[in-house]
Amino acid sequence: MVASKTESTPPWRACAGKAVPVDVVLSPVDVLHAAVAGLQLVFSWPNILYPIIGTLVAMCVAVLPGVSGATLLALAIPLTFSWEPLPIMLLFGALVGGATFMGSVSAILLNIPGTAPNAATLLDGHPMALRGQARTALACSATASALGSTLGVVALVASVPLVSRALPLVGPPEMLVLSTWGLLSVAVVIRGSMLKGLTMVCLGLMVSFVGLDTTTAVVRFTFGSLLLEEGLSLVPVFVGLFAIAEIIDLVASGRETVAGDAGQTEMGGSVRQGISAVLRNPKLLLRSSLIGTVVGLVPGLGGTVAGFVAYGDAARTVDDDSEFGSGDIRGVLAPEAANDAKDGGSLLPALAFGIPASTGTALLLAALQVHGIRPGSELLTTQLELAFVLIWSLFLSNWLTSLVGLSAVRPLARLTLVPTARLAPAVLLLATLGALSFRGRMSDVFIAFAFGAIGFGMKRFEWPRIAFVIAFILGPLFELNLKLSLNLHALGRLNLWTHPSVVIGTLALGVVLLLSRRKSCPARPS
C-alpha cells in the first residue's frame, strides 16, 4: 500500500517544536517514534501541568462517594470547549485515569466505594482497615493499581501496530458489525435484566436520531419543538445524565455529608507490607491485570465486572482462601489491578473504532467529538502522537494517583465529610455554566436539566444508563453504516465473501448472544 504523508503541521506537533511525519501504514518503528514523541509532549513544559492538575482534581472528586469521575468528565467537556486538541488529550487522559484508584480510599476506610468499580475492594479492604491495617490495604491498592494500569497500557501499546494495519480494511459493513456488536454486547452483559438493557439500547438509538437526518434532509422526532431540530448535543445530555442526576440523587438521599453516617477508621499498618504483598504475588497481579484488560475491551462490562471477576478468580485460585472476605490482602490486590488495567483495554475500541467500552470512554469520545477529533484510522495513523499523548497521560495519572493518594490519604478522606448542602449547589452551578457556555443557548440548560431528571429516574428504577449512553454515541455511526451497507448491497457492490470479517463478526455476535442467553436461563434438572 502506498504510504502518504501529512501535509500540514498540526497544532500539537507545533507545540513540540518539530513536525514528525507519520506513514499511514505504520511499522512498529513508526509506532515507537510516535510513542516517544507523545511522551516528550506529555513531559514538556507547560504540558505536564495538564495531567498533574487533572489528576489532582480527579482524585478530589473520585474520593467522594456518589460523585463519580463521570460527573467530572461531563462537566469538563463544555468548560474546555475552546481548548486545542493537545491539552484536551492531556486533561481527559488524566481525568479518566485519576479517578480509578481514589474510589478505593473510601471503600477501604469508610466501607463505601467511591466509584462502583471499587465495590469489590471493600470486601477485604474494609475488614483490613477495621483490623488496624488500613495503611497496608491502601498501599497494596495503590501498588496494584499502578502496576495493573502499566500492564493494561503495555497491552494497548502492543496492539496499536496490529490494529492500525487492520483499520484500512474496515469498511461500512465491518463498522456496522462492530457497532452492532457494541450495542448488543452492552445490552446483554450489563448487570441486571437483559430486557432492560436492550430497551435502553433502543431508546438511546432513537434519541440519537432526533433532529435533522443529514442523508435525507428530513427533520425527525422533534415532536414539534424547534429546540430539537438541530438534534441533541452530547454536552447537555451528558452533563444532565452524569452530573445533575448524581446531585439529584445525593440531595434526595437526605445525607448530611457525602459519606453519610460512615465513620472513619484509624490509620494503622505498614506501607511496606502493602507494597511487598503485591510483589510477592506476581502471578495474581498478571492474571488480574489480564482479566481487567480483556474485560475492558467489551462494551458495557467496565471496571465493576473486571473487579468482581478478578476477585472471584483470586478467591478460586489461591492456595488458602479461608481469609477471603474477612481481610485477605489478595482480595484487595486482584480487583484493584483489574480495575486499573481495564482503562488500557477500554481505550482500544474507543480510539480505533469510536466504540466506547465504558462510561469513562463514552465521555472521552464525546469530548473528542466535540473538539473535532475523530477516532479511527486517522487517529491511529497520522495523529498517532496525539493518541499516545492520551495514553501516556492516562498512564502518568494512574501512577501519580497511586503515589499522591498514598501520601495524602488522610486529608483526601476528610473530603468525604463535605456537607451535601455545599457540594450540591456548586456542582449544579458548574453544570449550568457548562451547558450554557457550550453554545450560549438557554435551551441547552433546559435539555441538561431534563436529562438530569431522566438520569435520576434511570438510577432510581435501575435502568442501565451505560446502555443508553453507548447507544446514543453509537447511533449516528450505526445509522450511517447501515445505510451505506444497504446502498452498497442495492448497487450489487457488497459481496459478503470479499468481507470475511463481516461473516466472522456476525457469527461471533451470534455466539456471544447464545452464550449470554444460556447463562441467563435457569439450569435444567439433570
Binding site: C202, L203, V251, A252, T420, F449, F456, F461, L482
Partner: protein
C-alpha cells in the same frame, strides 16, 4: 417497575407514531429500531404487571412519594429544577447567586456567613467565566 414500564411504553408509542409519519426514505433505520423498542416495552409492561409487587424491607408495601419529606425525590427534583427556572426568569447573574443563597440557607440550614459567601462566590464565578469566554451573560425573561 410498573410506573417505569408504562413510561417506557408511552415513549415507545410516541417514537413509533412519529416514525410512521416520516417519508419512506427517512424512516427506514428508525423503523428498524422503533419496532423492537415497542415489542420490548410491551414485554416489560407484561412482566411488570404479571409479577407480584415486591414488599419493602419492613414487609410493608412501598409508600408513595411524599414531597413534604425532608429527603423526598420530588423535593430534590423541585430544588434542582429551581436553578434553571431562576436563571431563565432572573438571568444568570441574579438567578444563580439567588439559588445558591436559598439552597444553602433553606435546604442546607447553613449560617448566614456561609450563605452570603457562597452566593458571592457564585456571582464571581459567573462574572469571571463569562469575562474569560468573552460572552454576554444571559439576562432573564423578567429583566430583559
Amino acid at each position: 417497575m410498573r410506573t417505569s414500564a408504562l413510561i417506557i411504553l408511552a415513549i415507545a408509542v410516541a417514537f413509533l407514531y412519529e416514525t410512521a409519519q416520516l417519508d419512506p426514505g427517512a424512516r427506514r433505520v428508525p423503523l428498524a429500531v422503533a419496532v423492537p423498542l415497542m415489542v420490548l416495552a410491551l414485554l416489560l409492561v407484561v412482566r411488570a404487571f404479571s409479577e407480584r409487587r415486591r414488599p419493602t424491607d419492613t414487609g410493608e408495601p412501598a409508600k408513595p412519594l411524599d414531597p413534604a419529606a425532608p429527603s423526598s425525590p420530588l423535593r430534590a427534583l423541585l430544588w434542582v429544577a429551581s436553578l434553571p427556572a431562576a436563571v431563565f426568569t432572573l438571568g444568570l447573574q441574579v438567578g444563580a447567586p439567588l439559588f445558591v443563597l436559598l439552597f444553602l440557607r433553606v435546604r442546607g440550614r447553613e449560617r448566614w456567613s456561609v450563605t452570603v459567601v457562597g452566593a458571592a462566590m457564585a456571582a464571581a464565578v459567573v462574572a469571571v467565566l463569562f469575562r474569560v469566554l468573552d460572552a454576554s451573560i444571559p439576562t432573564g425573561w423578567l429583566l430583559s
